[in-house]
């Protein structure tokens, strides 16, 4: 298979398979979580918990004054990830094609800036995971996989955009394939938090609210 066939495969069947696995897997996971319901409250229910639930969704998304370096790096990379995915013009074309909506993209130099920043931030978080003993113990193989499949699309995308590597067509194919890997990993690893983070935060917040604990 040459680089052109690889690109055609990645843009065609590869993308279709990855989409199916991602959407199928994520839908199952979300519905399963929702259908678990709540345990019966043994104590008197203090409030509906809605307000506390929503509050925690916001609160846990804001930085906490702990280990500011690690937190900054995490923020940078999450914001960078969203910016690069949703505002790089070729990506917006992808979303326009799939969803029929177009929200305008940002100039390449801004995307480039966020990409470099995100790559640096991700490397920092990896190093921290290795050198901080408590983080190291808590990190499982699946966490490293999650890190890797998120990291590779940044690198391949950066290389393709800057015409680095052996050949642009090949780099573009590798970039798309690496994104497909990320799509497949979404329902299978902790990366599911991309869609479940709000549900879990809401659940925790509302449970606390119902029991009268300050969220």
């Amino acid at each position: 298979m040459n680089e052109v066939e690889l690109l055609n495969w990645a843009r065609g069947p590869g993308l279709a398979y990855a989409t199916v696995i991602m959407v199928f897997g994520l839908t199952i996971r979300v519905i399963e979580i929702l259908s678990l319901g709540r345990p019966k409250e043994l104590a008197k229910v203090r409030s509906s918990g809605t307000g506390d639930g929503l509050k925690l969704v916001v609160k846990r998304s804001l930085p906490e004054p702990r280990n500011w370096r690690f937190i900054t790096a995490s923020y940078i990379f999450h914001i960078g990830l969203l910016v690069v995915i949703f505002f790089f013009i070729p990506h917006t074309q992808f979303f326009r094609d799939v969803f029929g909506v177009f929200w305008g993209g940002w100039p390449n130099y801004i995307i480039d800036f966020f990409t470099v920043l995100s790559i640096a931030a991700m490397m920092y978080t990896l190093v921290q995971r290795r050198i901080d003993p408590s983080r190291r113990i808590l990190t499982t193989v699946s966490d490293y996989v999650a890190w890797l499949v998120t990291f590779i699309p940044f690198v391949t995308g950066y290389m393709a955009f800057h015409r680095l590597g052996p050949d642009y067509t090949l780099m573009l194919a590798l970039h798309i394939l690496s994104v497909e890997l990320l799509m497949i990993a979404l329902p299978l690893t902790k990366l599911t938090h991309a869609v479940t983070f709000a549900i879990s935060r809401y659940y925790t917040g509302s449970s606390m609210g119902r029991r009268g604990i300050k969220a």
């Binding site: 040459n2 052109v4 066939e5 690109l7 055609n8 843009r11 065609g12 069947p13 993308l15 279709a16 989409t19 199916v20 696995i21 991602m22 959407v23 199928f24 897997g25 994520l26 839908t27 199952i28 996971r29 979300v30 519905i31 399963e32 929702l34 259908s35 678990l36 013009i89 070729p90 990506h91 074309q93 992808f94 094609d97 799939v98 969803f99 993209g105 940002w106 100039p107 390449n108 015409r163 642009y168 067509t169 573009l172």
Partner: protein, 370 residues
Amino acid sequence: MTPEENNETTETLGQNLIGNGVSRRTFLKFCSTVASAMALPPTAATAMAETLSKATRQSVIWLSFQECTGCTESITRSHKPTLESLIFDFVSLDYHHTLQAASGDAAEHAREEAQKAHKGKYILIVDGAIPVKDDGVYSTIAGITNLQMLKDVAADAAAIVSVGSCAAFGGLPKADPNPTGAVAVSDIIKDKPIINIPGCPPIPVVMTGVLAHVLTFGIPELDSHGRPVAFFGESIHDRCYRRPFYDRGLFAKAFDDEGARKGWCLFEVGCKGPTTHNACATVKWNNGTSFPIQSGHGCIGCSEPDFWDAGSFYKALSTGSMNPGEWATDALLAGAAVGVASGILNKASKSKAEKNHKPVTLEDMGGKNE
């Protein structure tokens, strides 16, 4: 008269050009155009002129298989005699079924004669793909399958030039679902040097330039797809004059919007320039007049393998070619069904567990009342 007895093949090219009223000046101009298009050193033009004018005309057999004749049209059709048309003075085109006067048996006879007379020395030019399914019955000439004819003629050729994307990569005949099992020349012939000059059609000066190079300096440097690096080494996007707009994020969104009128980048309306290697942006078409992007249409990627199967010409390169949205909807419904089923199962096993639940006593845990 056999080709050997034919004057045209024994007189030198220089003599032949003079005989045809081509001035040395025109000839030199051709050589320097080719040399500069191929980024050869300045001295190469003179060397090329010297070698070519002393050479006898090269015997060429041109075989057309599953093709549309667009490649021949490209190389021959011009309003006035062009530099490109000079190539027909360089070669003795012993067989080309669109251009030759002979037909029927006489035509096939001419091919066999040329094959015999110039055994091991002629250049074989092929345009069109070769169907191989069902023993190649889907395309025949004089009762001979393309597959058989290619094998026969290639056996005694010095080199093969695959002109056009069909001969080079399979092209349109090979596009999905490829009903005739069409393949490229290089899929069949493995023991001869093959130069691919893809394009649908290829740029005339690229075809003639490569032929002139073969006649003077031999086979040029080729890339991994067998294309001459001099013409196919860079992508359209690398040399596109609209590139600054791409970098600044200024795109035409439709063929008649303001961006289109301002000449912004055509990526969003489907330009495949970033992944296409060809010389359109530098050599251009119609004697250097223009090229597709300059006339407002995105590059369709015609000089790359399998470009017909790379999705719509009018959708951005960064979109999926198999409509991922549709697949996503089906996957969502299937996922929802499985999710609900598994939710019901979970509930059932939960209530069963609750029903079977017995309170644990201290004795159960191995403790003793003392």
